[in-house]
């Protein structure tokens, strides 16, 4: 079931560019090699990655965002059990208007992963079937995993303050 030779990132990039005519490039990163895709091209590239015979990335292992300066970097970690392949797709959207195409149609696993990053980062996924908060309550204000997030004074009746003992313990 598993092939000996596994494709590396440059080969995958070649395949993408040959078949979809979309400009993608490899990222310079000290650890995982990743493929940088423009936000508007994410959906077609993903579709190709899943449906291509040579790659068949049928599994979306993880999807998350990183708040890095002015941008949200988005990462999709894809797996192909058939070819024992692993790759990372990277894209970035500006913090001021974080909008990107949802990949729910490609992988159903994206549903909850996108809901989570909507919940915690406030990234808007276009065409997501059910985009609402998942971890936090519906009436929560703000997106906690953004770097500029200030924890609220309280939520409903619950006050968010340090106890007297804590204050005495560590002023």
């Amino acid at each position: 079931m598993f092939k000996e030779h596994t494709l590396n990132t440059t080969e995958i990039i070649d395949l993408i560019q040959k078949n979809t005519q979309i400009e993608v490039k490899a990222s310079e990163n000290s650890y995982d090699a990743s493929i940088i895709v423009e936000p508007k091209d994410v959906l077609p590239v993903m579709k190709f990655l899943k449906l291509s015979r040579d790659l068949s990335f049928k599994v979306l292992s993880s999807h998350t965002a990183v708040h890095d300066g002015e941008d949200f970097k988005l990462f999709w970690n894809l797996l192909s059990y058939e070819h024992n392949l692993e790759t990372t797709i990277e894209s970035s959207v500006p913090v001021v208007s974080p909008q990107i195409q949802s990949v729910c149609k490609v992988w159903k696993a994206a549903d909850w992963l996108e809901r989570e990053s909507y919940d915690l980062f406030g990234i808007q996924y276009i065409d997501h079937p059910d985009l609402r908060r998942i971890m936090l309550p519906e009436d929560w204000i703000g997106f906690p995993l953004r770097k500029d997030y200030q924890s609220p004074e309280g939520y409903q009746d619950i006050e968010n303050s340090r106890s007297e003992i804590d204050k005495r313990f560590k002023p």
């Binding site: 650890y31 599994v59 990183v66 990462f75 970690n77 159903k108 696993a109 995993l145």
Partner: protein, 373 residues
Amino acid sequence: MTSELKTEHITINMGPQHPSTHGVIRFVIKTDGEIIHECDPDVGYLHRGIEKIAESVTWQGFVPFTDRVDYLASMNANWAYCMAVEEMLGTEVPERAEYIRVIAGELNRISSHLVAIGAADMDMGAITPFVQLLREREYINDLLEMICGARLTYNYYSIGGVNYDLPEGFSIKVMGFLDHFEVAVEQMHRLVTYNQIFINRFANVAAVSPEMAMDYNFVGPNLRGSGVKYDVRRNKPYSIYDKLDFEIPIGTASVGTLGDCYDRYFVRVEEIRESVKILRQCLQQIPEGEIQAKVKNAIKPPVGHKYIRTETPRGDTGYFIYSDGKTSPSRLKIRTGSFTGMSIIPELARNIFIADLVAVIGSLDIVAPELDR
């Protein structure tokens, strides 16, 4: 029944406090009598913001928090995180430490599967096997307590090795325990796993096809229950797993359809047997030597991102770490098996009985803190 008879769906809250939701999870179910029409899982009751905490603690200081991600398999969670940081730093872990890690991790895998199996049994109303299996787990807790001093949240693995060496006579004790354990667990299977009532409850319920399993990113025993032979330990070997001889059990549809609850359950049963095999090999092969590589006190991995996957009891757990070269991670994302397993529930819980929903949750082995993090 005539078609004019007007019926109404009942909306029921299953949870957050419910005996079979395995923690604080809420399911809003719409039922027509006993048959579920719609099920909407509402998660997040145990969201503790561990990913946010990671942004404010040191790289080493985050290890105890990984314990709390999945309290049933703290060792494996430690392992995944430590491995990710080691790969980022390029640290070589000493061989003895790797063996110890495998021993502790597999013991922990057994104990986690025991709870998974036992809880599934208890959801089906068989309470005795649950308690008996927890008794076996208690022995494992005793063993793990011997090596690290804690029973649940171990914090045993450190970046670059393990914190303590094995105590004297540990392998003899583990061997003695395994001799007892294999027989005792086999007996519990005769008590419940092979029981016809139990099989009827689990077989043919909520079958997940291999395609669907991959689409929903099922991992670990759930994925293998659907017949996909993928195990990170074998397909992307880490640590010393490439030196060890063990099988990857997959669902065989022995009593029902492929990927039904019984298959998922039975893969765990088989995995316990494989873990026992691994443990015996490790205890025979374990070399002498160092247990901790030299790691600086204040580590600052260079800028970049790393995604690492390890096979924990609840499947392939992914740690995505983004470092900006500071003393704490800039972003740490934990993608857990329960999370992806849970997202399939709205699809599976259609036109099944309420009692089947309990079976589905039990067979998916969902741990609420891991789901919410």
